[in-house]
Symmetry: D2
Subunit: 407 residues, 4 copies
């Protein structure tokens, strides 16, 4: 057992840290200005393009892609991007949901699909959305997906309603990866398939944006409700085989979850920096906040949580690298449950220390809080994972992302 990072990790985290310090943090205020200047526009602002160019030049591009770094090497880099969650991941072309979609295409796409969609995604020329969740059914139960994908000659006809399609409000979003039922009579996990639907296809209707708390996340392409009304795509747009939608969604989720957790820890570390700065500089009743009340205890508790959970995430990454995503399922569930809620709590304490400023847009805390809170629901609510993890312990089985689990 050895807790020292290897040379590759040291190199990449150093590079990412410098990128943050030199370019990303200063760009945060620029993004705010650009957003304020164009309040109704969806999609990335100019400052993002500039950062992307710089990241690419600095060798900080597409690091999430399998084969570039190990999961264990990528983890601390992903954590660093979480410190500026609206800019750093997208700047390095490592932001969800594009990463998951690129992984799908990379692993399961045909050469034609890769040429058409993966290449421009890897170059950040287009963006993509993942259309799985539906408003009318409990999305933690994948077997309830009601969207239909029906073969008609050389085409598939897609009909249904999706929501929380993150990124799909942006005009840059060219690709929708859509999950639907091709055979509703098949076994529960063989019913679904995935097809690649151009956002510009006739019958695709972007209904409205959704908000998370009061945030519309418009620079990130928002969260769309979309109606698919007899949308036709060539059969060549099927991703993997018919009936394999559930299986490849699972494959997509393992890395996605660990990336979310790493970035969430980065948000917590950002909050810690802010808290330390505030607590040592702000004075009330004649003394800095750092010397008052429960501030020390909050900081200590937050530090404890971060340190223990980071190790759990890193061990999970190591397991994914050494025994595979499937064998690491229990640990992936564990961090999926434990990290977002801890980060939510750390951010809640940070907000409390900042007072009303912490609730506002003057600090990144409230927005990061909303993001951490949303993670407790993304890819299945905590409770589904908790019950699955408990069942696995009680019945001496590995946690399985099966029909009782969330997609």
């Amino acid at each position: 057992m050895d807790f020292a990072p290897d040379a590759v990790t040291v190199e990449y985290t150093g590079r990412a840290q410098r990128f943050l310090d030199e370019l990303v943090y200063p760009a945060e205020a620029v993004l705010e200005e650009q957003l304020a200047a164009t309040p109704h526009e969806w999609g990335a602002r100019p400052v993002v393009r500039e950062l992307q160019a710089a990241a690419s030049e600095r060798g900080l591009w597409n690091l999430f892609l399998p084969g570039v770094l190990t999961t264990l090497q990528y983890a601390p880099v992903a954590e660093l991007t979480g410190r500026s969650p609206r800019l750093a991941p997208v700047a390095m072309n490592c932001a969800a949901p594009d990463t998951g979609n690129m992984e799908l295409l990379h692993e399961f796409g045909t050469q034609e699909q890769k040429d058409e969609w993966l290449e421009p995604l890897l170059d950040a020329e287009i963006r993509s959305a993942f259309c799985m969740t539906e408003p009318d059914v409990a999305s933690s139960d994948a077997s309830q997906i009601a969207t239909r994908i029906v073969r008609d000659g050389d085409e598939y006809v897609v009909t249904g309603r999706k929501w929380w399609s993150t990124g799909a409000m942006s005009p840059d979003c060219a690709l929708l990866v859509v999950m639907g039922a091709t055979d509703p009579t098949a076994a529960r996990h063989r019913r679904q398939s995935m097809v690649l639907v151009p956002r510009s296809a006739p019958g695709v209707r972007i209904v409205r944006p959704l908000t998370v708390f009061g945030y519309d996340d418009r620079d990130h392409g928002g969260h769309a409700e979309i109606v698919f009304d007899d949308v036709r795509v060539p059969v060549a747009n099927l991703l993997a085989g018919e009936g394999e939608g559930f299986a490849i969604a699972q494959a997509r989720l393992g890395p996605g979850r660990i990336h979310h957790c790493m970035r969430a820890l980065g948000m917590a570390e950002r909050a810690m920096d802010l808290v330390v700065e505030r607590a040592t500089s702000r004075v009330a009743f004649g003394r800095p906040l750092a010397d008052q009340g429960v501030v020390r205890e909050w900081v200590a508790e937050s530090r404890l949580q971060i340190e223990a959970l980071r190790l759990l995430v890193l061990k999970t990454a190591w397991l994914m690298d050494t025994v595979g995503n499937r064998a690491a399922m229990t640990e992936i569930q564990a961090i999926k449950i434990a990290v977002p809620r801890a980060v939510q709590q750390i951010l809640d304490r940070a907000i409390q220390l900042f007072g009303a400023a912490g609730l506002s847009g003057d600090q990144p805390l409230a927005e990061m809080f909303a993001a951490a809170r949303a993670l407790r629901l993304a890819d299945g609510p905590d409770e589904v994972h908790l019950a699955s993890l408990g069942r696995a312990q009680l019945h001496d089985e590995r946690g399985r992302d099966d029909d009782r689990n969330a997609l």
Copy 2:
């Protein structure tokens, strides 16, 4: 000891409940539409005016005002208004910050001040804001208030910067009640005074709106940052005497806090209604959510918290009525700490049950969460009250809203 409500309470809560059922709940969707139609307008929408007319007609108007109902009688009415927090309080002219300002004018205003400001406020012809918190100092420490109110002949000259002036973005807001230092060399709690400043006075500059978790609360007049740049008002605009600003702020806060707590409990009850409806109707994995996982436990825990804390609030109200606000200070602090955080937790559980819908504007949960979260900071952060309450217990004294306490 008797836990049965009296006849007046039964009468008014019945009336308020009918008002909610018949007019307020249906108006919620209307408000959303009117807001969507005028995204950049600040202030009440037409539907609010209609509700106000109806409330006035039904004898549900200005019930907060001392002398109309006892605190104990008003408490369950205020709770009911919390079930539709954006509409019911304002519909009944019982919304903060106007209520606190009206109480101040009612108790400490001169006849001229009452004629000019109180009457139109009681008629909801104008709105008002309370300008105390400042961006540059810890607002829990009132002695740090930097805004200056300097006498110059027959006028006071007000100079400073305030923020979180709720309501002040609205063009309906005609009055700013401003706290500032008239004598920085006086004893800590004799330094401040309050003056009445017309929002239209030269030198008043509304700098920008602030957001709470992304919400701008624009129908309610938002939360403004305001600069006072040599603003001149007649000396007759002084409220109470010079040096009495702190004392009358305290007087304002007791009732304000209990009203906040009652409305927060109403938000919790609204969430319970929504949760029960959702859990019994939504199906996943073949069974209603109500029969799964920890849903029963969540509902039970939420019910426990609500019942116990409501009794504590009601007892506090009874104490205010029987021994006075000052003698009830310990209990007021207790509910100020305990209620908002419990309601935040209840809303968090409700959001979790609703999944992503709970985060969005399709349900009132995320917005109520933001409101409850903000209450943990309003009128001083929990921690200041907690420390004060603990000190009082340890040293056998009543909780005092003194220099160690929040305004």
Copy 3:
């Protein structure tokens, strides 16, 4: 609604407080000495007899008995007895399990049963135990009770194994109230009956004492495991009718639970007194503990919990008096869940403040902690009640102590 206690309550709580101050607290050290002098003896020590005589003389005797005080009037008296839980309840002949057994006899006993058992119990001449829980089945599921009560001519023959028969180790214990199945084929809640079994009956074998943490509670008669081996009692020893065992157990539990809760709050108040005394007198690092770290916050949180929960208990008492035990079932469940765990937490904090002394017999804290911890299991574990309460909320029914509930 009125939170002021009535004159009877004021009179009795004053009397009980004086009894505590003048006689009970000073007797605690005496009890310790008498216990140390006779380490292997089970049952009350001489000091208890003296206190009983004094309590009787002061009109503080058998106050739990229906008709003496209302539940609401008795509640604060019971709370006071909880401040010295090993002495005050037994001194006033208000200690479990005798109180529950006396209530059963009072309500359901024949005149002969009353003459033989109730009178000496009311005079504290004998003690009794309640034999329901069994080692081999989940005791929260009353339908699983395996002990058989078989009629044979004019006698019932009792066969089975019970444990946690509190008080039964004491030679003063003359009566065992035994629950067993008379008709295992009947409907679930008509299977059981209760019979009165003299502890001296042939076939009654006291197997061993059990401990709670490391405490044997020997002055209170301990907790016995008992084998009933073909024990014969006259049919006249049946309490109420055949098949009514479950129903009368339920009747016994409502008041029992509220008494437990009140005494638990008394334990918490005792802990608060000790904490305040310690925190203000003990010095570390140059300052009293009261001025350090999280002590203030602990005291404030404990105070909050006590005040809110006491009101919930009092309201429950009021409901029992006004609408009956059955209609108050939801509230009884609520306090059964909420009070013991809060008191456990309050005691845990108190122990932490006292350091190692808090763990030892030098302070009553560890022993009270064990008692509060045990309450979370007595009469059914919290979780059974929590699920029942949640179910009632979700399905709009009153909490029912039915087959899913604990006895």
Copy 4:
């Protein structure tokens, strides 16, 4: 970074696991019988001697000693011993307080001291106690130690009162390591020295045993209060130099804390085994407990806590091995805070699942709970460490076990 244990660790944990399975677990019932047969005897029972012989033969002897295994290699072995905390540590001669005393002698003892005390301790021929805590002062503040060690010619004269001297009730305990002030006027951390006092020395008076939640831990030598009344020892009995008592106590505490944490995790794992067995075999209301209520969630939460905290402990061990105990101080504080309280909570849940049996001596849970609870106070209460850790974070310093910290 590599999470795989090395070959030595695999070898020793395998060996320890077999020792547990083959000899220790079966010996638990034997210990109970031997204790029941000799209720008033202090010290190890025969079964312990037998286990010690077997452990020594199996190469599981004195593994705690510096140089035998690295801290990281020893950690999982120590965890395994925690699964049977009353037998396994002492069987392998790895039980506190002897381990700490042996470390002190090993590191700071003269050859004569080693010959006289260390050798028989390493052979388990004698036992020892550590006498630091005093009843009259807050023991977290080492500068308050009142015991005096005064040089008088060739002797030191020890005068004072100690308590919580674990092991000192046993007649096998031959050595008392006593901390006292040699120069009360020196700088705070140069006042104290340690001397080696034979338990048989004139003037040593064992006053009484103390209990922890009713447990006297008599097989382990109990916890003694001891008066030192002009006890004379040769100056050669000074351990290290005059004024070095504080420094060497610190050196002793680092490893001690990590060992405590590892064993506590072993207790948690034992509880998990018991819980899984119980939940899958015990039936209530027609289904195994494993399928009911919150059992799955409890098991999952406990697993989460154990996995994350074990990694934190292992990383701490790695730091101690690579950068030294002093540099690992922050992490040592972190685990000292986080592990015992988590284990207490895990045990509390386990007790709840077991019902009343969990409170009794029929299961090891209540006794392990008491041990975990005591750890939150041993070597300084959590709160002192929490404040110190928070201060270090806020002021960018490593946690220091200085005058504000606990011994």
